[in-house]
Structure formats: structure tokens, C-alpha cells
Subunit: 448 residues, 2 copies
């Protein structure tokens, strides 16, 4: 059932655009879902995409514009007049409209706002722009269905019909007092089953989850997930109902966060995509690579300091990549578990308990791996002392790496720093250096 964009179809559209045949484009695409239009827009050149936007109803294109990549959208908006942008905005929910306006240049912004007819809408958008990024205020939309506790069920249904005009999906009906303070919600079921003359105050549910405009997005996501909410009302400091956040915004947020953590763990410092330019990709990747370079130079310097044992035990030097790799792997594993546990809020107990557990875990892993390595190296080289030195060092390195991998994210988290930066290259690099230092130090102790 899902739409699949084929090359043939895309060429047909490009052909129609080249012919400036807006009418046929409109006919062809009018029943398409906006998400499919968005997919087409992303494949077109900016000028072509702009022509397509102009050819279709803003009812569809406004939604499609919200689906496409920010940089594609930017290029299209640059090619539209303030009036045309205002038309698109008038079809969007206020939260999307505010997001688009926020992306515009300062002078264009004013012109576009000037072109919006509906004054309430302008006020809503301007209000949304005032909230700090990554708070509930900036994420919420102003569209919602609200009723006053003093109304009757019949009056409420009437009013809902009116309000529903502006609200694409009714998630919940919020109940406020005379001043607009959120005092509860109304279930659709109760509204359907109550007698027409019943007062809302008699049927509404006084328990309602909410967040304030200042609540961080992360906390909003946590609450909505924990309590399985599909929408949550947002109030100001005084408890006045200001807007609502829906689950689809939270789905996007959760995905973005997961991708950011994933990229961070992979040593990519900025949010990039496979289709970004080489320069953008380089900027995102180079910082961590530099860190790796620094770590490598550090390791080389340490090894230089042990040059005197090169004559008698060259073998030791052959195993430095193994030691570094194992230290890195163990560190990444430990830190990943902690970072994930912190994100899911299920790290319980004290730091020292956690470190003790990790130590036991690392000892078990280290013991198994150390024995395997000893058996191999002893059999292969026939030098039991060297084999013991390498294996015992590996054992100690794994324990230290596990402890560092556990401690650093916990420490960063305590300091209010995102622990996710501790995964990936950061932990790998520091563990490389520590690992090699410990390795030579122990090996020397055993062998000399």
C-alpha cells in the first residue's frame, strides 16, 4: 500500500515542471499524501521544487514543507515571496508555523508576519517564538479544544464543533476555570454518554498530567512515554492553559535524540546525514579523529619510553594493538550500558556499587580472555614468561578499562554534562593510552 517513488514517475514530474504545466501537476498529485509529496520535493532541484509548491494547494504543500529536510526547505523558502510563505504558514499548525518563521532571515521574518491576515494567528506565532529552544513552550502548538467548567454538555459540543475547525485531531478536551487555568480534562466517552444539560463541572476528570512552558523537551518526552500520553497540555507559571504537545512531535524528538547519541558514540560530533556535503561531513568527523591522533601520538610516546625492552622482548610491541583494542572495546561497552541506563532513568544504587559490579564483570571477562590469550601465546611462541606477562596485563587492562568506562559517564552526568560524549572516541582514546601504559608497566614488572 505504501507509495514508492520510481525514477520513471520522478522523470514524468520533472518533465511536467520543465513544461511549466502546473495544471497537470496539480491533477496528478492532488490526491497524494503530503508525506509522499515531501519525498518528491526532496528529489527535485530547488527551482523545480519551488514550482511544484506553487502549483499545488497550500493545504498539502504546507504539510509537505514540514516533512522535508531543513536545508531543502530553506532553499525553497528563499525562492518564495513573503506573501507566498505567509499562505503556506496559514495552513500550518501554529507550532510548525513558528518553526518555519524562526528559520527565516530577520527582515524576511517581519515581512512574512506582516502578510498573515489572521491577527490571533500572528499573536500565537509571535508568542511561540518567545519560548526558549528545547522547552515545552517552543514545542507546543496553540491549537487545542478547551471548554469551561461552567458550560453544559450541549454547549460544549457546540463549542467543540467550532474549535474543531482549527484542530486537525482532537486528542483531548481540556477543561479550564473562568480565568483559563487548567483544571482537568473531559473524555470523549463521557461527553457522548452524558445528558445534554449536564454541567461540565459534574463530568470532567480533575486529574490531568501537564507540563509548564519551561519544562525541558527531554522531561516532556519522559513523562509522555511513562504515562503513555498522546497529548499533554502545557500551562504557564500561573497554571493558565497555553497549548498542547502531541505524541508525533515527541516521536520525532525521541528519534533525533537516539540518532544524536548513536552518532556521538560513533565519533560524529554534529548532526549530519549521509547526503550532506563533504565539507559538512568532514567538520563533523574531524574533531574526534584529531582526538584519536592525539591519543595515538600519546601511545607512541609511551612506547618510545619502553624502547629499552625492545631488544629482549619485541613480542610485547606486537601486542600493543590488541591491548589498545581490548581496552577501547571494554570501555565502550561499559560506558554504553551506563549512558543508556542514565537515559532511561534506571541506574539505581550508589556509584561505588556500580563500580564494584563493573569490576566483577570485567574480572570475569578479563579472566576468560586472559586465559585464552595465554594458551595461544604460550603455544605459539613457547615463551611462558612473555605469554604470562601479556595475558596478566590484558587482565588488568580490561578491569581498569571497565572502571574508567563506568566512572566517566557517571561523573559527567553528576556534573550536568551529557554523558553520551563519553562514549566512542573519547573513551577509546583515553583507554588506549591508559591501556598501553599499564600493559608495559606490568609486563616490565614481570619480565625484568
Amino acid at each position: 500500500m505504501a507509495f514508492q517513488l520510481t525514477t520513471d514517475f520522478l522523470q514524468h514530474i520533472e518533465h511536467l515542471i520543465a513544461q511549466r504545466n502546473g495544471l497537470e501537476l496539480k491533477e496528478l498529485l492532488q490526491d497524494f499524501h503530503f508525506a509522499d509529496i515531501a519525498e518528491i520535493l526532496e528529489e527535485l532541484k530547488s527551482d523545480d521544487a519551488t514550482f511544484l509548491i506553487k502549483s499545488l494547494e497550500s493545504e498539502i504543500t504546507s504539510e509537505a514543507l514540514m516533512e522535508i529536510d531543513e536545508d531543502v526547505r530553506e532553499k525553497i523558502l528563499e525562492r518564495l515571496s513573503p506573501k507566498e510563505i505567509a499562505e503556506e504558514l496559514s495552513e500550518m499548525d501554529t507550532d510548525d508555523a513558528a518553526d518555519v518563521v524562526a528559520e527565516l532571515d530577520e527582515e524576511v521574518k517581519q515581512e512574512v508576519i506582516g502578510e498573515i491576515d489572521d491577527e490571533d494567528r500572528v499573536a500565537d506565532i509571535v508568542e511561540l517564538l518567545t519560548y526558549e529552544d528545547s522547552t515545552a513552550g517552543a514545542l507546543m502548538a496553540k491549537e487545542l479544544v478547551k471548554v469551561k467548567e461552567t458550560w453544559t454538555v450541549a454547549g460544549c459540543v457546540r463549542e467543540m464543533r467550532r474549535q474543531a475547525e482549527n484542530v486537525t485531531r482532537v486528542h483531548s478536551i481540556y477543561v479550564t476555570d473562568k480565568e483559563g487555568k487548567l483544571i482537568g480534562r473531559l473524555s470523549l466517552k463521557d461527553l457522548l454518554t452524558a445528558a445534554e444539560k449536564t454541567k461540565i463541572s459534574e463530568v470532567f476528570i480533575p486529574k490531568v498530567d501537564f507540563v509548564t512552558v519551561h519544562t525541558e523537551n527531554e522531561e516532556v518526552a519522559r513523562i509522555m512515554q511513562k504515562y503513555d500520553l498522546e497529548a499533554i497540555p502545557v500551562v504557564d507559571e500561573k497554571g493558565i492553559l497555553m497549548g498542547r504537545i502531541t505524541i508525533d512531535d515527541i516521536v520525532d524528538f525521541i528519534k533525533d535524540e537516539a540518532e544524536k547519541d548513536y552518532q556521538m558514540a560513533a565519533g560524529i560530533s554534529q548532526d549530519v546525514e549521509a547526503d550532506d556535503s563533504i565539507l559538512e561531513l568532514t567538520r563533523a568527523r574531524l574533531p574526534w579523529l584529531f582526538l584519536g591522533l592525539l591519543g595515538g601520538v600519546g601511545a607512541a610516546t609511551i612506547m618510545g619510553g619502553f624502547e629499552d625492552i625492545l631488544q629482549s622482548y619485541a613480542l610485547l610491541f606486537f601486542y600493543t594493538p590488541l591491548i589498545a583494542a581490548m581496552a577501547g572495546n571494554v570501555g565502550v561497552q561499559s560506558s554504553a550500558i551506563i549512558v543508556q541506563g542514565l537515559a532511561n532513568d534506571d541506574i539505581k544504587g550508589s556509584v561505588s556499587n556500580r563500580l564494584f559490579k563493573e569490576m566483577l564483570l570485567a574480572m570475569l571477562n578479563g579472566l576468560i580472555l586472559g586465559i585464552v590469550l595465554f594458551m595461544f601465546t604460550a603455544a605459539w611462541y613457547g615463551d611462558y614468561r612473555a605469554a604470562a606477562a601479556i595475558s596478566i596485563s590484558l587482565f588488568v587492562v580490561i578491569i581498569v578499562a571497565g572502571i574508567i568506562g563506568t566512572f566517566i559517564p557517571l561523573f559527567l552526568n553528576k556534573r550536568g554534562i551529557d554523558p553520551a560524549i563519553a562514549t566512542g572516541p573519547f573513551i577509546t582514546t583515553s583507554n588506549d593510552i591508559f591501556g598501553i601504559l599499564i600493559y608495559f608497566w606490568i609486563a616490565k614488572l614481570i619480565l625484568f
Copy 2:
């Protein structure tokens, strides 16, 4: 507003449980949200948790049971009688009930099903159990509001009131023909605004997204996200409406997938949590560590093969951890971008284009890093030829690592294997070996 479980409060509950004071427990916790009850259950010993479950209304506990960890739930269910389990099940949505039944031992399963009074429910649960794991059939719930096209608006509202009894949240009203085939949906707005005698066939929306019972969860998640759906109907092969999937199940699925990918990238092969036992954590971590060990032994063997240049250029051996680390980092970066792009379905263009781009990118990174390393090593050791050998090798290694990191996930994906396994230790290990081999080979070429 969010509930915070304190140690004091927990102790108070444990105290009440020790006293077997079910009445006070019930009074204390009856207004609690099920998600908060779940949090408390997870902190209690299994016997205590079971007592708490028995003390509270199954209306709350059934939902709380679905929120807790599978292994905690298992221990509680073991302590409940089939009759008690059946009571909990009768309060759950069918999809949750089926999940719980699926977790039970075969004999208990039959007893529990025998204890459920409602025969329709039994039929629903048994049906849900027949679908394959990780398909829409296994994910869907049977609860939904459906109306026939031949009904009037008034009849529809009547019927909805009846059906709404079993449906906690009305997401959409689905319209079927006489045989039960899904033919469209009805918006609440239209239902509110249409005249009572209007036929549903006149007002329903014939366009409706749907999936079949055999659609993979991943595809369901993709469709629901792409089209911003909060619920999607599920049909069988003949188009008969069978159930519906709601966004909260998809949110859980998306989170689980993201966590799995993240763990895979970190070298953790099974779904584990920080609080799992040491043995479970070891089982999840050891396989990748073994791979790393193997890689390290491989690298050591390669270096052993170049032992003859140890006399004249010991320096080269000091830089093997750097080479291995850089090869690993570049590989992880490249593969992470590809894996993410594949997951988001935005890898476009041919494989060779992608590889060419990665090559350019790696050349740019390699050039910058190579020059920096050359300047440092030349200045530090005063040996320009050795410095050139190390830096040029690094340059080549980075390019090869980038290409391998790009190619492997694309290749796995083409073969239908989850490309995420290519990130983390897999790519690090293979790149370590390739990197060191290339490094010595080029260095030897330059120096001798």
C-alpha cells in the same frame, strides 16, 4: 508534577506489606498512576510485589504489570494462581493480554485461558497468539471502534457508545462494508457536524492507510512515522478489518530498535540493561571481545612478519596503535552514517557513487591528519623519511578504512542482513588488521 519515588516512601510500603496491611496499601495507592505503581513494583522483592498486586484493583495492576520489566513480571506471575492471572488479563487490552499469555509456560497458559470467562476475549487472545512475532498481527489489539457504511450517524453514535466501553482511547472510527472489509474511516469532526439521519456511506473518508497482519513491525513503524499516524488499522489477506495498532506501541518499538542499534555499535550482542546480572552482561559482551582478541592476535601475527625492520625502524612499531585506532574510528564513523541512512531510508543513488563520495571525504580527512602527523613526527624524531612513511600510510589507511566502513553495511543490507552488526567491534577489528597490514606494507615500500 511527576511522581518521584523516595526511599522513605518505599520503606513505608515495604512496612505495610510486612504487616500484611492490604487495606491501607490500597487506600494509599489507589489514586496512583499505573506507571508509578510499576516503578514501585520494580523496587520490591518478588513476594512483596505479588502481595501488592493482590492488594490493589486489577484495573490498575493490569496496566502496571505491562509497564514493568519482563523478568520482574515473570517472577510475579509465577506467584499468582491461574485465576488471579486471568483476572489481570481481563482488564488488559487484547494485545497486552496476548503478550502476557505468550510469556507463560505451556500448561499454565491453558489453565489461565480456561479461567477467562469472556469467550470473545479468549478467541481474540488465541487469534493474536497465532501471528508471527514482529508482525503487525502480533502487535495489534482487537479493541477498536468500527461502524458499517449502511448505518446512519445516529445509529453510529449509539453503537460507538457501546463499543467505547471496551476501548480506552478512540483514535479513529473505521468504516467497513457488510462483510467487514475495511473501506474507510470517519472523522470525529464529521460525525459531530453531520445530521443524525445521514448515512455513514455519505460522510466517510474512503482513503485510509492500513497494514496487513503480515506486515513487519519495522514497516509499520516507518509508515506510521512517515504519515504521522496515531493509529493504523490492520487487515487480513482478504481486506477484513482485524485490529489496530496505536502509536504508543510504535514508540516503544522505535526506542527498542534505537537501543539495539546503539548496543550493537557498542559491541553488546544482546538486549541487556545496567541492572542485569553479571552473567547476563558477560554473555552479551564476551562474543565481541573475543572478536577483538582474534583481531589483536591477527595484528600481532602481521607485525611479527615485519620483524626484520624492527632493527632499523623501531619507530614504526610505536605507531601501530595510532594506525589501528584511526582505521577503527574512520570505519565506525563511515558505517554509522550508512547504517543510520539505511534505517531512515534516505540512502539514495548507487553504491559506487556512495563509495566515491566516501573516498573523497576520507581523502580530505586523511590529508589533513596526515599533514599534522608528518609535521609532528618530523619535528620530534628529525627523521623525514620515517615521518613521511608513517604519514603517507595513515593517509592510505584512512581511505581504505572509510571505503570498508561504507561498503560492508551496504553489502550486508543488500544481502538482507541487518547492517547494524557491521558497526562497532566488527568494523573496528577488521579495520585494525587491514590498517596494520597496509601500514607496514607501504612503510616498507617507502623506507627500503
